[in-house]
Homo-oligomer: 663 residues x 2
């Protein structure tokens, strides 16, 4: 029997002002792409070979084993089914893994790409086939227990021995232990090891080396190798992130990945043509995180929005039935700004990715002039989107009240697996300061009369002193973009002024930078927010959008901008660019927009098109049958295997009996 849809959700869907399918097509790049996505998802979700066990009911060891087994099956099936494009693999694996990873994920995501990118042709001949066919399983070993973001500080050494033409690998100190690489703890038998290269006592900086760490016969660590799991974490339970220390491990000279730098047999070091080429991949990864942040936020908002329509609570009017929670304006104010932000980052992530694609063809032709712009933009957007997703996912969980706290909601696991995005691949503040460095450089160039291009072009044109007494329509996307642009330009200008003044006050550049860094971070944030607002607005000028969806998306874009404006209202008021009455107008518009978005909320989250199997949330079920499934899920909890738990006989019974005897 097919379960009936919850009547409240049914009504929501009937009353929407547009067909969500149209937005789905817009979000995924067209009807064909959506069709393919659904085929692959259904292939993964309906394949009886996958058991889709609930990881929440397992110990960490069981989770590791379960997902290793699933990962192996998945890799085998993808080959059989010829699922080869990156896009197709993403759709298929997200569904198979129920939005999680598996212990060999880093093999695909980093080990293989590093071989493609850093190995010579000869090296590729030797290793690629082995790796592509999983006869070796690798990971990428960069971070150390004492070293993260600052790659130059890594301590692991690779000392060249010209006599034997080998590198001798060592972990010279406790803080040099490799730490974090996914899949290294128990699974991988190979790593790409990032280490300080020494030749004849001289240091040449960080280089990549192919290193076998476990026997291909019995999987035991090789001599000189100490390796293991780093222990349980907030999330990523299924992943055996590992530690590794090396004691005089020798590898042949040919194991250094030499596409760029080389060490000749006699120990001669040959420099790479450019040190900036590695940037390209990093930009791609960061652009991916913008998209990924938008999607994770979209998942959380989907769960919370559907549940808020099913959940009825309190009494708005005496004697009336309990209203749907989403009818409370405060609940709308919790969720709708994140609904808008999810759309904003989803679309900005796509734009960022296509900027990357265009630029990388230039880069591959040797033109690296676009790199600083690309790098600064992707760093700021990665930091902004991942931190906003972090906060937003937790707000969505809290907006589900008590049930959000249960693993049945899907929200805790979504959060704990997604939150590393704001630390990994460049920590939030570190990245914001990299963007700020580019902004300062660009701003100073503009002061010297240079014309700026790209994302910072506006820094040369903007009037920093606001025109007083203007009347603004705070709903107008042009006016909103202007306001965000003005704010960014002003804050960039003030950060530059502060930096100058710290240096004039006698600080050297490093100290002045540090002393100004809170304001510099703020400048990078304002710049990134402006880019997102502008990109969101620009994407809505797409002529393929029909009027029904362009109307509702425009409301979301207005809400996104207005909410950013009122939550940072001081930034717009500080120099008088906006007035108190503008801000009050903005708040009234937000209320009005929320009221207009309310009937479309469910359709707007349906449009993200996450099947239940991927969302993995009882609160967010498409059919809205929440309570019945909560109860069924609870009954399957391991503690409920028996009516009376074994601990009763071991501990509770003797305790109760002893107490009774004493009375």
């Amino acid at each position: 029997m097919v379960a009936k849809m919850n009547p409240d959700l049914k009504k929501e869907r009937e009353n929407a002002s547009f067909d969500p399918e149209k937005i789905t097509n817009f979000l995924y790049g067209g009807q064909e792409s959506v069709k393919r996505k659904r085929e692959l998802e259904s292939l993964a979700l309906n394949d009886p070979d996958y058991q889709h066990e609930d990881l929440n009911f397992m110990s960490r060891e069981q989770q590791y084993e379960t997902q290793l087994k699933k990962g192996i099956l998945m890799v085998t099936k993808m080959k059989e089914l010829k699922i080869t494009s990156a896009q197709d693999q993403l759709f298929y694996t997200s569904a198979v893994l129920v939005s999680d990873v598996h212990p060999m994920s880093v093999h695909t995501r980093m080990f293989l790409p590093t071989l493609y990118g850093q190995a010579t042709e000869q090296q590729k001949d030797k290793w690629l086939k082995l790796a592509e066919n999983y006869t070796i399983i690798g990971t990428y070993a960069q971070t150390e227990i004492g070293h993260g973001t600052f790659v130059r500080g890594l301590e692991t050494t690779a000392t060249y021995d010209p006599k034997t033409q080998e590198f001798i690998l060592n972990t010279p100190t406790l803080s040099a232990s490799k730490w974090w690489p996914g899949g290294m703890g128990k699974t991988s038998n190979y790593v790409v090891l990032m280490a300080q290269l020494y030749i004849y006592g001289k240091s040449y900086g960080i280089h990549p080396f192919m290193l076998q760490i476990r026997s291909l016969e019995d999987h035991k660590p090789l001599p000189g190798v100490t390796v293991g799991d780093i222990g349980p974490k907030f999330g990523y339970d299924v992943m055996d992130n590992g530690f590794l220390s090396l004691n005089n491990v020798r590898i042949p000279r040919e194991n250094m990945l030499m596409k760029y730098s080389r060490v000749e047999p006699d120990g001669t070091y040959v420099r790479p043509p450019s040190t900036k080429l590695a940037y390209g991949t990093m930009v791609q990864v960061r652009a991916g995180i913008v998209m990924f942040s938008g999607m994770n936020l979209a998942k959380a908002v989907t769960i919370a929005t559907r549940y808020s329509c099913v959940r009825r609570q309190s009494e708005m009017k005496p004697g009336h039935p309990e209203p749907q929670v989403l009818d409370y304006v405060t609940q709308q104010y919790k969720l709708f700004p994140y609904l808008a932000a999810a759309y904003a980052f989803w679309l900005t992530g796509q734009t960022m990715m296509s900027v990357y694609t265009t630029s990388s063809s230039q880069i591959s032709k040797g033109d690296i002039s676009v790199l600083p712009e690309l790098h600064a933009l992707s760093a700021g957007l990665k930091a902004l989107s991942s931190s906003m997703a972090n906060v937003g996912m937790e707000e969505c969980r809290l907006a589900c009240g008590g049930h959000g706290y249960s693993h049945a909601s899907g929200l805790p696991r979504l959060y704990t697996n997604a939150t590393p995005a704001s630390t990994a691949e460049g920590e939030h503040v570190v990245l914001m300061l990299q963007t700020a460095r580019y902004l300062m450089k660009s701003y100073n160039q503009s002061l010297q009369g240079e014309k700026l291009a790209g994302s910072v072009a506006y820094l040369s044109g903007v009037q920093l002193v606001p025109a007083a007494g203007r009347t603004r329509n705070m709903l107008d996307l042009g006016a909103l973009c202007d306001a965000f642009r003005h704010r960014a330009a002003r804050i960039v200008g003030e950060a530059a002024a502060q930096l100058r003044s710290e240096m004039q006050g006698g600080k050297d550049q490093a100290d002045a930078w540090n002393a100004s860094s809170v304001d510099l971070t703020k400048a990078a944030m304002a710049h990134s927010q402006y880019f997102v607002v502008k990109t969101f607005a620009e994407r809505l000028t797409d002529s393929r959008l029909d009027s029904s969806i362009s109307a509702v998306l425009t409301r979301l874009c207005q809400l996104h901008a207005l909410h950013g404006l009122v939550t940072n209202s001081g930034d717009f008021l500080e120099d008088g660019y906006l007035t108190g009455s503008d801000i009050r107008q903005a708040r009234r518009h937000i209320n009005a927009l929320m009221a207009k978005l309310r009937p479309d909320a469910v359709a707007l989250v349906d449009a993200f098109d996450f099947p239940d199997g991927i969302l993995n949330s009882i609160l967010g079920r498409y059919d809205g049958n929440v309570y019945q499934h909560l109860l069924e899920w609870a009954k399957a909890s391991p503690l409920n295997k028996t009516d009376v738990h074994q601990s009763y006989h071991k501990y509770l019974k003797p305790f109760l009996e002893a107490n009774r005897a004493k009375l």
Copy 2:
């Protein structure tokens, strides 16, 4: 051998401007109290009978069993050791349980207090001794799967049958299943059941009933009782939160707790003298959460601050050694505002608790006039402090970079166990709106010329139109309190105006309230923040404070106020009360205060006096020997029991061999 202290932490401690012991005495109410605290903690932490196993390495079932065993031992020992006062029990149990709970915690925290508060003398004679001596173990069953904050909406029924003089208990619908009570899943054999009372078909609202749910012989659920664990959650792994449904379960009339309301044998219902008396306990619980939020934030800040002095990262100046992370101004800006907030809530929690104590003696004399004020104040402060602690604990985790994500940091478990505080005992927005309701009532009274007292007295006196052109010293605590007062009064006034205008526009009261609720929440927030700033400043006028600690605490108070001011700068700028130049001055002061606080940071967290055994964090260790202990901890991870995990033989080996064969 005693491990040496990390040299960086040693230096920090040597360079502090004050003796942390003095602040510890201030925070815990004197030297004697600190001495007693340490005795109890050391009793708990050094007792070899407790094994203090690492729960992070266990499955949820193992965690439940381990903590049940520990809880039983603890209850027995507390009796032997005659640890009886609430304060002493808190110190002892926090240490035994390593900041966690045990499956019988709700027995002590809610079941017993409910019996004390709601049972008649006769009922106390019957049950109290049994409960106090743990021959019965109880919990408090209020929330249902479909009903949380709105108590009147509960559906469980207790129908009086005058023929047999019994109540018939039922769970009439799916959404009426009891859901969440701690310890109900597997442990308790009794509950206080909150149910809708029906007599002769008429409803009399929610009342408490004593109900046995499991056999005292074999612990099996009694006939008509379906009970079990609700499954894994974000945190509270050790707790068997439960579900319960009842099918025609009969209990004697005497099982209704009848201190206030009564049902006579013939079915006559006797009303309670006042329905507001139950408020008192709620206020106490909420005041406790303010304190608890301050303490949890203090723990997180302690971990992150110590670690930020041990961790060295990046290169501030070319060729120089890697600086301590806390020397980055951005890192100070992440942590110091939360350090200040931890102090703010710790002190405000104490003040709130003493206001409660004073008021409750009035209440016990029958004067319930103080209740609305007490209720509104505690609601707003609970909501503010728990949400700020929520955000702050996560910021502290993120400030620890990658290692913050490991359970070794202690931060994930701290967060997941503390975050329910912002949902339980009244959801954030619901509570803020309760405070807002009192603010609106008070404000309207003041408009009608009534003089207001207590926390809202300022609403009648404040000039809403700011005096223009004033020069302010933004470091002056008086000026800062004035600014927060003005902001609160203005926002309260505007929310009231909006509410009026919505009603004048034709909305009924409920709709107008809902339409204004975002602004009403904002008003309650501004009111609560003002109270915290003012309370923090007032506590510093304590004449027992010596000058060295009063200087550093004043800096914290200034930072707390200034940070609140710049992060909400729009609120102060909107009506021109502050100017852009005031805000810029505030930002400069924040930078200067952080530089002054930097050398005292470690001493300020040491002053919280959390022993390592309670902090339970490798990153936050007092001796700072982080990396060595991270490695040791990791080696104890269950996945490292064998070099080669069993999953290799089961899954990985066949996979690798098959792939090799195919090549």
